[in-house]
Assembly symmetry: C2
Homo-oligomer: 462 residues x 2
Amino acid sequence: MEKQHSIAEALRTALGSDAVLSDPADRWTYGYDNSRAQAMPLAVALPSDTAGVRRVVQVCRRFRAPLTVRGRGTGTTGAAVPDEDGVVLSMERMAAVLSVDAANRVAVVQPGVTNGALQAAAGAAGFFWPPDPGSAEYCTVGGNLACNAAGPRALKYGTPRDNTLGIEAVTGEGRIIRAGCYTTKGVVGLDLTRLLIGSEGTLAVITEATLKLTPLPEAITTVRAAYTDMHTAAAAVSRIMSQPVVPRVLEFLDSAALALLRARDAGDLPAGAGALLMIEADGLAEQLPAAVNALQRAAAGDGLLEWRAAADPAEAASLWAARKALSPALRSLAPKKINEDVVVPVSRIPELTDGLATLAEKHCVRIVSFGHAGNGNLHVNVLGEEADLERMQACVDEVFRLVLALQGTLSGEHGIGRSKRAFVGLEIDAPTLALMWRLKDVFDPDGILNPGKALPDRPAGG
Amino acid sequence: MEKQHSIAEALRTALGSDAVLSDPADRWTYGYDNSRAQAMPLAVALPSDTAGVRRVVQVCRRFRAPLTVRGRGTGTTGAAVPDEDGVVLSMERMAAVLSVDAANRVAVVQPGVTNGALQAAAGAAGFFWPPDPGSAEYCTVGGNLACNAAGPRALKYGTPRDNTLGIEAVTGEGRIIRAGCYTTKGVVGLDLTRLLIGSEGTLAVITEATLKLTPLPEAITTVRAAYTDMHTAAAAVSRIMSQPVVPRVLEFLDSAALALLRARDAGDLPAGAGALLMIEADGLAEQLPAAVNALQRAAAGDGLLEWRAAADPAEAASLWAARKALSPALRSLAPKKINEDVVVPVSRIPELTDGLATLAEKHCVRIVSFGHAGNGNLHVNVLGEEADLERMQACVDEVFRLVLALQGTLSGEHGIGRSKRAFVGLEIDAPTLALMWRLKDVFDPDGILNPGKALPDRPAGG
């Protein structure tokens, strides 16, 4: 209580009293994200500029108080859940699009801007920023950068790491650093831009970002391809990915997902389909028929039941209906859901889906998978009742081991946060983890930036 | 002499005597790169595997001897020129393509493989690796990674940072680290892969790389667009870059380059042309006419004198003749040449070329520019006689200041090496440089990895 009072006072002195929240009701609302974890911080700071962010870091450093930066709290791993002994820095007052430079395909933004607001500003100039998480209308660009959050379009257009040119940030020592450049090529100095992207607020607080924009495509064609089973669908994904027309998105739904939709009479599914691919091609209107033909040639083969290209946006929306119906259906299917976004090499998707079926049976849980097939990035949903939680966790543990045995990775875009820290050591070896910890020490020698996130516990003596 | 003998002996013990060169004639040939700088190392080590690399690092650490890794020495900044008191580690015995995995678009290679050999192996499976430096047939992938060396195709397909999934490396402490993953998405741990790329051998020795491959395009169309002057050509570059068809390459030659070619009757240039764009589109054969039309619509406007699309490969080769004739012509024009690969935002290319003309006049030197216009990456060649070197350097100094004033960067792909270290502090501020130095210390606490390269001198007390 004493500490809570002192730290709130120090923040008020640093930022002005209208930029600090210390009422428990306010603090509570800044304490959770989409992981269902929650903790009440000592205070919430709302700086308006980089100098203010720096002052917040300095106060936290003085008090040795953990500092957790918050966009809109849409992450699923608890990376934005604060420490009970710490401070939340909310980026809500640093939410401007500072410039959209059409001639150079660049936007400069503050981290608190929503992905949707950035897309609107870029779109008015004929551009978009490729990262498109499911929560794009609500989540912030700063959060997208902190987690390297991507989405379906990453298949053709890349993740935030591929679409960010430069970053300004405040380190855990309160130093302002500027990395990267304003141009699409640049090799001066070490690449701190990409090192900060995906570091989940553990190295520095991002205060500004210079983003690479991409011209909006003239037209998009949506196709639904239905296959008898996951094996033939996955083989089609490999064929599609080895020809030159890269789809804008290449999503899939597994047989459990289709069974769920059928049980609800949702999605207008073709009879006998055991796996569904949702494919989009984009480009010049004049080029699209050739692109769609090339994709169709690659998709053709064993197990293909239906290739249905939408003739117009209304039909495209109806083809997407199955995919859109899935998340609400999942939510109502079972009260508890663990959603992991594992990645395996595309050719190993069938081994993964077979393995998931075996594990579901073994642990008496239900698993429904869908996701970004072109990247091998599957959203594996382990479902059950409250009483099943232990079995569900045991199953997830085995899912992770299976993914790593298949040369995969534990997360493609959700990140580690609090919830997957215990598993990082399965993927990254001890010398490499020890090095990461020492790099963290350089940025944040007092360990105040988002402790207990992203990296597993520090090795003994490390 | 004593040290030379001891270190060579220690390396022989570590690697076997057939893997160490200590004869001065041999050592001399490993002492230079394409920067014209040269130094004779104490010994040359030729390890065959990661364990051997590690032993070389351990020997250098014991002797506190500088260690410079060498591919084929094609760099232009002296990054591969060793210390006279140090050891060269040549990657020539670690030159295998370990796998080409077509189903997953991945190749795993040792760093000593040439870019050309990788392209041949990938090409046999229908793929390519986008980075294509001018020296691609001869230079190594390890060198490409160390310098983030790109080339013209980076415009559409990105640099090594965008086309590398994972890296194995040996740190300056002799620890083997493994970063990144085998898939196109992955957010577990800090992004050490991209941190090592472009670090010019100062952080760790790359011993293996997992590369992202791209399917070969079905067809390529080459176009030459001639403009009256650089201003109208640069405006066309901006227009081309703000529509959705990204050219495979978008190169330009300035008026000084064209004057040089005309004086030699080379290149079959259109009358009155003051700037030339070389444009290539790629994709499905069926899609190319629409792509070329879109590029032509964007290229059309003030100052366009000629739009000539090659009807066949022979005509394409003849269109490229002007560009290919340029480098030999430059070499014979003046005995001394300083070639800098600066970058400015595309919209500021006219200001840069105007500024270069002014600086050439002021310093009584000749400047010829050409390069990767779509990225704003200009190869600025300052030419003169032996006696002009001081004026040429003074001119380059002002070129760098002009580039930075235009929101540019000192190097797009050549890197810093030894030759541009003094200028890095103009681009990167002191707190950020101090942080980079401290990161270097984590990887290489004894400072044995390529000292005197990439970063400027360590700040006092840093």
